[in-house]
């Protein structure tokens, strides 16, 4: 297996600055700060690096949208990692922190930011304190702070802890939260590259996206494109969880099949049970019927769509044949009811009523009409909210009812 992101699995102690440097650490930053800023952005654009937080938007294109008539510029690393089933960013930050910080530095240089923030979910308390130490070590070694490596470029990186709110992973809610407000999404446009943090142009990128950047600068767009597919280049960390023998993070080229991830790397399904469904994008995911066609589908941003779901943050939750999906959607609705920020009425009320219905159906007290009503409420929420959370809350519900009707017939 080739590790571009989880390099600590090849190089022990790479979270120590001298070990990181001995293994090519900061070479990309040294190279980048001698390049023209536009060339750095163009290299990332040419590499086709797509946002790893879920949306899959091309990172270099996002950087090129920064409004150069409005200053200062900011870079914010989204380390709010809260999608049920996702646990990759934490491993990067704990075990390969310098590559992540180097990625932030290169992104900041490319967009002309002199201050960058890492927004971590409050639960990552220990990770935040660990990163503070690593930032200090980088400053002492001359890779952060004033006049980096003898150039005119200066950068400070700060950590900022959230306090428990899934919605803050949405980039505009994250910015509100950073500004000391409740984390509720903003109306877009304007998008953050025009008006972001403190109404200034801001790039918000996921931890894994930023950690991919040093490899691109060191090896060029062509070197990066040796991995993955044409439209989804590079490697991706797949967080594998649920009913599987070996749950964990697996860094694989985009385009690897579900079968390879779940059976070759994940060791298959425990206790002699069979695979029933897959949620490729965590709790926000539609459920895929785990037939041969689905298992042989390459996991990239395009192909997962063909089997009726999205790749999202690639948090692959495996569901075996002992699980009733009435139980499962009651879990996802409990989550979304709790996490809806309350700003948009269809999401706030819809999540509440959907959860009431899933509770009743799961308890065996529902009727056939309740299942129809549940699906009706879900489709009424769709397309009527400011951010994707409302939409996400309906995915598992609608796909379960449509693709696994027998689970609901058995309960009513």
């Amino acid at each position: 297996m080739f590790y571009m992101l989880l390099r600590h699995r090849d190089v022990p102690d790479i979270n120590q600055i001298d070990v990181y440097q001995k293994n090519g650490g900061f070479d990309a930053l040294k190279k980048a700060i001698k390049m023209d800023t536009t060339d750095v952005t163009n290299e990332v654009k040419a590499a086709g690096l797509r946002g790893r937080g879920g949306a899959g938007f091309p990172a270099g294109v996002k950087w090129s949208f920064m409004d150069n008539n409005n200053w200062p510029h900011y870079v914010v690393a989204n380390a709010d990692e809260s999608e049920p089933g996702t646990f990759k960013d934490r491993e990067i930050m704990e075990s390969n922190p310098f590559q992540f910080l180097e990625g932030i530095s290169i992104a900041s240089y490319a967009v002309g930011a002199n201050a960058a923030y890492i927004y971590l979910r409050g639960e990552f308390w220990e990770v935040a304190h660990f990163l503070d130490e690593k930032i200090e070590e980088m400053e002492k070694a001359g890779f952060l702070g004033e006049k980096i490596q003898g150039t005119d470029y200066s950068l400070k990186i700060y950590t900022h802890l959230g306090a428990g709110a899934y919605i803050c992973g949405e980039e505009t809610a994250l910015l509100e939260s950073m500004e000391g407000k409740r984390g509720q999404p903003r109306v877009r446009p304007p998008f953050p590259p025009s008006q972001g943090l403190y109404n200034k142009p801001t790039v918000v990128n996921n931890v894994e996206t930023l950690t991919s950047v040093p490899y691109i600068i060191s090896n060029g767009a062509d070197g990066y494109r040796k991995f993955g597919t044409e439209k989804s280049p590079g490697t991706k960390i797949f967080s594998l969880s649920g009913n599987v023998n070996n749950p964990g993070n697996y860094e694989l080229p985009l385009g690897t099949t579900f079968r390879e991830l779940i059976f070759t790397h994940g060791g298959g399904i425990p206790d002699g049970k069979s695979i029933k469904a897959i949620m490729p994008a965590g709790a926000s995911s539609s459920l895929i019927v785990a037939n041969d066609e689905a298992l042989d589908t390459p996991m990239d941003y395009e192909n997962v769509r063909n089997v009726g779901a999205d790749l999202g943050s690639a948090s692959v939750i495996v569901v075996d044949d002992s699980i009733g999906l009435d139980w499962l959607i009651n879990k996802t609705m409990s989550f979304f009811e709790h996490e809806s920020c309350g700003k948009c009425t269809p999401c706030r009320e819809g999540a509440y009523w959907m959860h009431q219905l899933t509770k009743r159906i799961h308890a065996g007290e529902g009727t056939k009409e309740d299942v129809e009503l549940l699906k009706d409420v879900a489709t009424q929420v769709q397309g009527k909210t400011l951010c994707a959370l409302g939409e996400f809350s309906t995915m598992a519900v609608v796909s379960s009812i449509e693709r696994f009707p027998e689970d609901f017939e058995a309960k009513v």
């Binding site: 934490r90 639960e123 308390w125 220990e126 900022h160 959230g162 428990g164 899934y166 649920g242 964990g248």
Partner: protein
């Protein structure tokens, strides 16, 4: 004592992270400071933070209410926050929580008779491959405990009780 009297240098350090005209960004860090001693944000602390950051106490209360790691009521010195979200639940977290509650003779949300341990059921903590798991939130911060059993949990609780006793 006020927060400004107790933690003057730390407050200064937090404020220095943000542009001076946006000191409101420091509210998250100051609320954690306020929780250090009693595990919740008191009315007095809300008023002080509001004044320090040019906000209203209503705005501070709205933030405390919005985020799940801020509390405005006293609970046990250690909050054991067990994840029972979908990933953990598929790996037995619901049963684990039920067993733990039975051993401690509490329900989720309740505190043990000695006033030290509160058991809470929480949403995803980004450790789905290491269930059953929980975090312990106390005034000192937050710490993860993964791949836990009832026995290892009870051992940890004994250590926490000992720590609390020694601190007194």
């Amino acid at each position: 004592m006020s927060l400004a009297e107790k933690y003057p240098q730390e407050i200064e350090k937090v404020l220095a992270k943000y542009p001076p005209e946006h000191k409101r960004s420091a509210v998250m860090a100051l609320l954690y400071m306020a929780q250090r001693e009693e595990g919740y944000v008191s009315k007095k602390d809300k008023a002080e933070i509001a004044e320090l950051l040019d906000m209203t106490t209503t705005e501070i209360s709205a933030i405390v209410g919005f985020y799940s790691l801020y509390h405005d009521k006293k609970a046990g010195q250690y909050r054991i926050q067990v994840c029972t979200d979908i990933g953990c639940a598929l790996r037995g977290a619901d049963q684990y929580l039920a067993d733990l509650c039975e051993k401690l003779d509490v329900k989720p949300g309740e505190t043990t008779d000695d006033g030290l341990i509160t058991i809470e059921e929480v949403k995803c903590l980004a450790a789905c491959d290491k269930a059953p798991m929980f975090q312990v939130q106390s005034g000192q911060g937050i710490k993860y405990h993964e791949q836990m059993t009832i026995d290892t949990t009870l051992e940890l609780i004994e250590v926490l009780r000992k720590d609390a006793k020694e601190a007194k």
